[in-house]
C-alpha cells in the first residue's frame, strides 16, 4: 500500500481546470496504490490475480493482473531439467523493458516509472496471451500477443478496435562479472494502431450572438456544410528497447545499484502524446531513456534518476510566420531519500521523500516560444507491504 503526500508542487493552484473541471491543486494526500495480490502454482497450472484501489482520479477500484497459465517444468531426472515453460492468457504486464515488465511498483525505489515507460505503455497492462520460457534462471524469454490497447490509456483501453494484434517480446539474461551482478535484456514490439473514422455530419447553420444584442448580424452567422463520414484506418507501429542492471556491494556501506534503460519507438505513444500518423500526416518517432543510481546504507538509501523522453522527434510549429522545430522533450531529474523498515518475507515498510524537477516545454516565454513550466514537486510516500 502506497500513500503519497505532495508536500510542495509549483504548479498547484486552488482552481478547477477549464476543460474538464478537475482540481488543479496538487498539494494533497493520495492513495497511490492499494494492492491485493494472490498467486500460486501447481505442477501444471499457475495463476495470478491482483486488485487495486486508489484515489488518483477519485476513489476507484479495479483489477490489475488477472492471468491463468499452463505450466511445464521437467523434473530433475528429465533431459530438459532446468527449463520452465508457461503459456498464459489474461491481463498481464506488457513484456517490454525492465521497468514495464519486470519491476513491480512495490519494489521500485523511485516513486514512478520513467516517462517513456508510462507514455508507451500506460498502466503497463494489456490483454492477450504470452509464452514464457526460463532456462536455469539465467535466460528468460517472453513472447506475447496482445490487443495493443493498454488498460491505462489509449482510446479503447482493454478492447481492440482492429483485428491485428501486437507481438511483443523480451529476452533477458543475468550473471556476474567478478563482484558485479549483472542483468539485462532487449525488447521489441511490432503492431498495428487504430485511427478512428468520423460519422457523417449534417448541415449546421449557427448564429452566435457575439455582442449579445439579440439581433442577427452577418458577421455572427456561420454555416457548416454536411460532411461525409470517413473510414477508420490502421497504421504500423514498432518499438525496440534495451535495459541493463548492475549491482555491486560497496564494503562497509551496502549495495550500489545502477539501472540503464532506453527505447526507440515509432507511432507507439499511447499515454503522453498518443500517436496518430493518419492525422499527423507522418510517423511519430519517440525516444526515451533513464539512468538510475542508488546507494543503500543500512536501512537508508539515497539515489537519483535522470529521465528523458522525446515523444515527437519531428515536432514542428508555426512561430513568427515560419515553420520551426518545436521542442517536445521532457527531462526529469529526481533525487530521493528512502528509509526501509523490515525485510522480505516479513512485513516491511518504507518512507520515501523524492524531489522532482521536470524540464519541459509546456509553458511560453515572453516571445511566445515554448519554455519550461514551473512544475517541480516534493512528494513523501509511506509504503507498507505484507
Amino acid at each position: 500500500m502506497q500513500t503519497d503526500w505532495t508536500v510542495h508542487a509549483q504548479d498547484s493552484v486552488d482552481q478547477l481546470a477549464d476543460g474538464d473541471g478537475q482540481p488543479l491543486n496538487r498539494d494533497a494526500f493520495v492513495l497511490r496504490r492499494g494492492r491485493l495480490r494472490a498467486e500460486g502454482e501447481a505442477p501444471f497450472v499457475a495463476y495470478a490475480v491482483e486488485l487495486d484501489v486508489n484515489t488518483v482520479d477519485g476513489a476507484q477500484a479495479g483489477f490489475r493482473q488477472v492471468e491463468a497459465a499452463l505450466r511445464w517444468a521437467p523434473g530433475e531426472d528429465a533431459a530438459l531439467h532446468g527449463l520452465e515453460a508457461r503459456l498464459g492468457a489474461g491481463v498481464f504486464a506488457t513484456p517490454f523493458g525492465h521497468s514495464v515488465y519486470v519491476e513491480r511498483d512495490g519494489e521500485r525505489l523511485l516513486l514512478e516509472r520513467p516517462l517513456w515507460a508510462d507514455a508507451l505503455f500506460p498502466g503497463q497492462l494489456d490483454v492477450g496471451a504470452r509464452l514464457d520460457l526460463r532456462w536455469q534462471n539465467w535466460v528468460h524469454l517472453t513472447v506475447a500477443v496482445v490487443n495493443g490497447q493498454p488498460l491505462g490509456g489509449g482510446a479503447f483501453p482493454g478492447r481492440d478496435p482492429d483485428a491485428a494484434k501486437d507481438v511483443v517480446g523480451r529476452v533477458a539474461t543475468r550473471g556476474a562479472l567478478g563482484p558485479v551482478r549483472l542483468g539485462g535484456g532487449v525488447s521489441a514490439l511490432q503492431g498495428t494502431g487504430f485511427h478512428a473514422g468520423t460519422p457523417p455530419s449534417k448541415e449546421r447553420f449557427v448564429w452566435r450572438d457575439l455582442n449579445e444584442d439579440g439581433v442577427v448580424q452577418t458577421s455572427e452567422i456561420t454555416s457548416t456544410p454536411p460532411a461525409a463520414g470517413t473510414p477508420s484506418e490502421t497504421f504500423e507501429r514498432w518499438g525496440v528497447g534495451a535495459d541493463l542492471q548492475a549491482e555491486v556491494d560497496v564494503p562497509r556501506v551496502g549495495p550500489l545499484r545502477l539501472q540503464l534503460e532506453g527505447a526507440l519507438a515509432t507511432n507507439l505513444d499511447r499515454g503522453l502524446r498518443p500517436a496518430d500518423p493518419v492525422t499527423l500526416g507522418r510517423d511519430q518517432r519517440a525516444l526515451g531513456g533513464a539512468v538510475t543510481l542508488t546507494q543503500a546504507w543500512g536501512p537508508l538509501t539515497v539515489g537519483g534518476r535522470a529521465d528523458h523522453y522525446a515523444p515527437e522527434l519531428d515536432a514542428r510549429e508555426t512561430r513568427a510566420g515560419g515553420v520551426v522545430r518545436r521542442d517536445e522533450t521532457f527531462t526529469r531529474w529526481s533525487a530521493l531519500v528512502a528509509w526501509d523498515v523490515g525485510a522480505a518475507p516479513d512485513p516491511r515498510g518504507r518512507l520515501t521523500v523524492e524531489y522532482t524537477h521536470l524540464a519541459d516545454a509546456l509553458g511560453r516565454d515572453a516571445a511566445g516560444a515554448p519554455a519550461d513550466l514551473a512544475n517541480d514537486r516534493v512528494v513523501a510516500r509511506l509504503q507498507v507491504a505484507f
Binding site: 504548479d11 455582442n211 458577421s219 510566420g321 524537477h357 515572453a366 511566445g368 519554455a371 512544475n375
Partner: protein, 294 residues
C-alpha cells in the same frame, strides 16, 4: 549531511519556470494561453499594424470574444490584458497575411469575468519580438454592457455551471413562453385585420436557449423580456432541467425586474433526478414562483 540535502532541495525548489497559473483570478482571460505577471508593457519593438474589433460591446461573463489583426513580420507573440489587471497573456503570432506582404496574422479569444461591472473596458495589446522586446501598446476601447437585457418586464434565469436549463413563463393570457415557443405574441386569427409588421415585438421574447449543446459557450442565463407595456395580471415562472451536462448539481436563480424594481426572486439547486422527468418527457416545468403586474 542533512543540512546539505536541505540546501540542495531548497536550491532546486527555487528553479524558475513559466508561470503554471491558468490566470483564473484575472478579469480578462485567454483560455490556454501563457500567463505573465504585471500589465502589458510597451516599448520600441514591432508594432501591431491592425486591430480588428468585430463588436464594441461585451457582456459580463461573456466567453469567446474575438480580437484579431496583423503585426509586423518580426513579431513572435502578442501580449494582451485588461488595463487594471495584474497579469496578461501571451499569444503566439500566426501565419503570414496573404493580403499584406511582410505582416503576420494574429487572433485570440478572451473570456470576461462575470463580476466585471458595466462601463468602459480597456484591453491593452502589444506585439513582442523573438528577443522579448515589446512594441508600442495599442488599446481596444470596448464597452461592457448590462448583464441582462432591459425592458418593461424582465424575468432572468441564471445558473452557476455548464448545464442546459430552460426558462418558462406563462403570461396572464395563458401563453407559455419557452424554448419551444420563444414569443408570446400571437398572430391575428384568419379574417382579422393584419397586424403591423413589428407587432411581434410586443410579446414577451425569450432571448436565447443557453447551454443547449452543453458546450459551455455563452453566458449561462436566459431572459424573458417584455420590451414595453407588459400585460397586467398574474405570471407564473417555471424551469426545466433539460440536462445537467454531467454536473452533480447546479445552483440556479430567478429574478423578476419591472424596470429598475425587483419584484421577486427565487433560488434553488437542480439535481440529476430533475432531468429525468422534464418537459421532453411530457411533464410540466418545475414551478418556481408567481408574481403580479399591475
Amino acid at each position: 549531511m542533512r543540512r546539505l540535502c536541505l540546501a540542495v532541495v531548497a536550491t532546486l525548489c527555487a528553479c524558475e519556470g513559466a508561470d503554471p497559473d491558468p490566470g483564473l483570478h484575472l478579469s480578462l482571460r485567454v483560455p490556454g494561453a501563457q500567463v505573465r505577471g504585471g500589465p502589458v508593457r510597451a516599448g520600441d519593438g514591432p508594432p501591431i499594424t491592425q486591430l480588428e474589433v468585430r463588436t464594441p460591446t461585451v457582456r459580463p461573463g461573456q466567453g469567446d470574444y474575438l480580437l484579431a489583426g496583423r503585426v509586423a513580420a518580426t513579431a513572435a507573440a502578442v501580449h494582451v490584458g485588461r488595463v487594471g489587471d495584474d497579469g496578461h497573456f501571451v499569444v503566439p503570432t500566426g501565419v503570414p497575411d496573404p493580403a499584406v506582404e511582410g505582416e503576420l496574422q494574429w487572433s485570440l479569444r478572451f473570456d470576461l469575468a462575470p463580476t466585471v461591472a458595466p462601463g468602459p473596458l480597456q484591453v491593452r495589446l502589444a506585439a513582442v519580438d523573438a528577443a522579448g522586446r515589446s512594441g508600442p501598446a495599442m488599446t481596444a476601447d470596448l464597452t461592457v454592457g448590462p448583464a441582462a437585457p432591459t425592458g418593461d418586464l424582465v424575468v432572468r434565469l441564471s445558473w452557476d455551471a455548464v448545464a442546459d436549463l430552460d426558462l418558462y413563463v406563462v403570461d396572464p393570457a395563458g401563453n407559455r413562453l419557452g424554448p419551444d415557443d420563444p414569443n408570446t405574441w400571437r398572430a391575428p386569427p384568419p379574417g382579422a385585420p393584419p397586424a403591423p409588421p413589428d407587432a411581434w415585438r410586443t410579446g414577451g421574447i425569450l432571448d436565447r436557449d443557453a447551454g443547449a449543446d452543453c458546450d459551455g459557450a455563452g453566458v449561462m442565463a436566459e431572459h424573458a423580456v417584455w420590451a414595453a407595456d407588459a400585460p397586467a395580471g398574474t405570471y407564473a415562472v417555471g424551469l426545466d432541467v433539460a440536462s445537467l451536462c454531467g454536473q452533480a448539481a447546479v445552483g440556479w436563480r430567478v429574478e423578476v425586474w419591472r424596470g429598475d424594481t425587483r419584484l421577486t426572486e427565487a433560488a434553488g439547486v437542480a439535481w440529476p433526478e430533475d432531468a429525468r422527468v422534464g418537459v421532453a418527457a411530457g411533464a410540466p416545468p418545475l414551478a418556481v414562483t408567481t408574481f403580479d403586474v399591475r
